[in-house]
Symmetry: D2
Subunit: 348 residues, 4 copies
């Protein structure tokens, strides 16, 4: 049997990747795609790569267009999902790829986003290890509301969570620098995101703590370790259309060895199909996960500096957004978690 | 009057950039260019962009070819400059763009490079602030042997030195992640450096402390701060042919404010023509220094994390190698430090 | 039921893409992967993106390793497939992704490749329109030997064949210029293919008629039009890892209108699932077919110049190599032609 | 002595490159820079790479701001230079980098641009060979109004003019396909020009004769050959921020040999400092002219196809715009034509 699906905000990059993956999902059937500015246009005018959608036309993004589907994926700018979700109500499965329902703390929301805080939904990161030894996966079974994690958040959380949950590092002193593709910044016309500005350059943004993904990372690591963490987090846009490579580090607790670190990562990720822990001395490349739902992780210890170094690679639109959304939806519906999700990247 | 110049290792990327800058230098005249594998070939077969060199042919890299010039720039793989410098002897000005004469500690040399250690030459980083309040510039006047800093080293040192020399941060807990172009890895045929492997991907290398530039950075910061430092340093190759963007961070000492940090950077770099300290809240982009001898620096404080964040951008072949070499040679010869060195980048 | 598959030359880019697609094919099961230099290594050391192959190890490329499979894909440098095919013999389905069995004319082989000519196999381009009104597809049913077309050949043939087969243009005056990614040139360590040489530049090669794909294009168009053609064909390597955008033109025959041209292309490609003829005034982008088996085609008329202009986009590793190989294998085995072949591209 | 200079439209890419080159010009002194939207902002907010301009602020683009300078460079969108030039009047040297004064034919203007046609100014392409055996250079001495050629126009004209002026090819059958960087399309916020849309893709535009540079190319070749020409011309945006590689071809006249072609190009470009005719068999790469005022040309013959193939590389912002503007201004003022113009490219 198959579920009827609507995708709101289908004209953006996240929406496009959702549609690409959904077209290959054996049990999801996309019935409606909506957009705001592009409503009324053929889908292929905004996504020429999605040939399998033929002559599909974009409907306006309204509760009426979205009502009557079993699953609704919301790929809207932050601040828009909350309102439309309230209008929709009902027991359809709503999967929000935006930020509106990620943060539990109204204060964090006010500090980093502002505007109405619509509260938080079940967090769509099945692999997240929890302080009680469980996984976030358990919370997703049967839910009707899912908040999909941010892409940078996913990369940093996967790199640091095992060390935090096993208390191998000092939690107050975490650093993360990310090489990211511009598709994570969305499909808005902006001089800063022009090819001419990005090609041939590495451009940092939201430096010194201002990035909106910061509180969400801290929320995840707090849940993993049961304690507050402090993190310096800097994304750098580099000339690749998609992909994230996160290089993170943390001071090792007294007496923690490389063997302890490797063991912790091995155990935490042993059964995770979509987390690809690389052998000691091997480091991930973002290009190797392009188009996939896989996160590749490398971890080691800088003996001289006494710090753990963990590097993670994901596709910001794949495991970073659309893949995570579908994986969590599979779980909510009691399906095989990996249905419709590619493991192999498209490389070179 | 003009000085006669030879460039050894002219067929590589560093050699090529030296020749590009030297062609525009009002008092240096390139008389000889040498190579190893490409000896006997027209220079333009290996550097088609250097039209101003006309039909110049590459001589073999031997002491005989290099002898008889007032200035010899050595752009050779590490391990080659030491021997040829000994053969040359004499009082010509030798400027080594390789690693052979950078490290003062024979132990560091043995740990990171191995093979004969030829000792250290005067370090070619005029702007380096010293613990005694002076600058490395003072040491360069009249010298006949100069060791040009490594490119990654330059980017990280400029980002962190002011905070270290003013004791604003904990010296044991420094982190640096660099987005770097592949030209810094040289012009050797290697599958890892193929366009197909690099385009569309961010690829880390020499993670967890193994990178050869690590001890050199520590040496610089030790000289700036008068104390040992510990640093985790990870370069990530991104799809731009040249450029480095270094994102660094360090734990602030108790009670240090953003104002203290800005004041320190302002004072340390106030008179440095080639260090471009950006206004608060503005961050450098590597593309804006392409082809120039300028380092652009942005600095701020992540209040929540209690860490200083400093970002620097240089051209790895410009201020990172060839520009620094010429700037130091100007100083050694008592010329205007900035002769022949571009301040503006080529952008977009 | 499923077929047992071996892939020879699995360590290269074409081999890697074959494995990526084969992993998702419902009726093909990869049992053996072979390589020359990398024999004995884990597959993932050369293809980190192929997580679904787990711990698979590369066997040596020998007849013994390849024997006993129902399908053998040969992704070897030209000159190697012929010999190994002779050793294999038997009635396994052999699919040669190299050039050895593409050219019918021994003279063409001698002129452009040299060395032994092993004759030609059934040409693996199902969509090729023939002068008798049929398609090449018909020749592929039940065969045991398939020669997969060259990637540039596929792009140019699809752009020009409809006009040639309908005699709308002068056949002696064809031009094609291709923007191509370097993965088409293979995974060999070469300075010309280094990221530093390619990023930020557009580099032509094999200009003025020397390219080995030239006689193969002429062979295809001769079969489509029943007459000799002359073609100037220039590939230009641009900084994208994969993809081909071919811009072709031809002088229109007297009295041929845009309507005639559009009608011809509409009719010739009407039933072709993997050829995506775009509406008038819309032109393909190579990025929109990345990772897919689709060819996107735009066609129009330059009234002032009296020339047809046709632009085609393919993924050189997808429809240009691995996709075409699998599509033809499906046909040879009587399976649904589109089994295991993606229609949508991975974009942006 | 030095000339006072104003640059109108300084906030765009062409304006930025003009400022970069003017800063190094020994006899031009930039006194005023103007912009429309960005008026009142510091220049470095829009051009962070132009450190040598310190705290210069952008004035509004008005006749009042521009009046009182000896040289005014106009780098404005087409349609704006004509009006402002009329307001300025006087005998200052006006150099228009836009299209307003390039086309002699009011009909061409109406067909391709529309709006008021302000007539044509002296065409700023010194190297253009004329049908009478002279060069366009002769017309530039002492003039007060210069129209700078379009960037694509320059690349195609240099590739084809020698064959046209020597009547070696059929003039009715010319083709040109250009790989171009997006900076040629300007600094306007547009989804089509986003890094996400361009990186990893080759995107054609203005196919089938619609491009505005087409009539200007025909005008140049008509002046070179004394006869009408017909040209199919297709630009393809590729992922490099700047640069043009034009691949052109034309049917050879009966009996014309490769030797004839090489001789013609040798003679036509023998004394041109900024045209770099490469040896037979060597082809230009766009990356080798980045940042320079040089055009690199390769030419050969495709014997089988009976066509000449000529490839040219320029920097669209350098020789394609700002360099040509300064070169022509030098000539108009009786200065050394090459003053302030780099010959070497910035590579890799």
């Amino acid at each position: 049997m198959s579920y009827s699906v609507a995708v709101a905000g289908a004209s953006g990059y996240a929406g496009g990747e959702l549609l690409r993956l959904l077209a290959a999902h054996p049990q999801f059937e996309v019935r409606t795609v909506t957009a705001h500015q592009n409503a009324g246009e053929p889908l292929r005018r905004v996504h020429p790569h999605l040939a399998s959608y033929g002559d599909t036309v974009l409907a306006p993004t309204t509760a009426d267009s979205l009502r009557g589907h079993e699953i609704v994926f919301l790929a809207l700018p932050h601040g828009h999902s909350g309102a439309i979700a309230e209008q929709l109500g009902g027991d359809a499965l709503l999967v929000d790829c935006g930020a509106d329902h990620r943060l539990e703390s109204a204060q964090d929301w006010a500090d980093y986003y502002g505007g109405d805080h619509y509260g938080s939904w079940t967090y769509g990161m099945p692999e997240l290890p929890l302080a009680d030894g469980g996984r976030q996966r358990a919370a997703l079974g049967g839910v009707r509301r899912i908040a999909v994690p941010g892409c940078n958040v996913t990369a940093v959380t996967f790199a640091l969570a095992p060390a935090i949950t096993r208390a191998l590092v000092e939690p107050r002193d975490l650093t993360a620098v990310l090489a990211v593709g511009p598709s994570g910044a969305g499909k808005k016309a902006s001089v800063d995101l022009l090819g001419s500005e990005l090609i041939g350059s590495a451009n940092p943004y939201a430096v010194d703590g201002g990035h909106r993904h910061n509180p969400e990372i801290r929320q995840n690591l707090r849940r993993a370790g049961g304690t507050e963490v402090a993190l310096t987090f800097t994304p750098v846009i580099v000339p690749m259309s998609r992909g994230i490579l996160a290089t993170t580090s943390a001071r090792l607790r007294e007496g923690v060895s490389l063997a302890d670190v490797r063991a912790a990562f091995d155990e935490v990720y042993a059964d995770e199909r979509f987390i690809d822990l690389l052998p000691a001395g091997v480091w991930p490349r973002s290009g190797d996960v392009t188009g996939s739902n896989r996160a590749a992780i490398g971890v080691g210890v800088d003996e001289r500096a006494g710090r753990l170094v963990a590097v993670s690679a994901i596709d910001n639109l794949g495991k970073g957004t659309a893949g995570a959304a579908i994986q969590s939806a599979n779980l909510a519906l009691g399906l095989d978690e990996s249905l419709g999700l590619p493991l192999d990247g498209v490389a070179p």
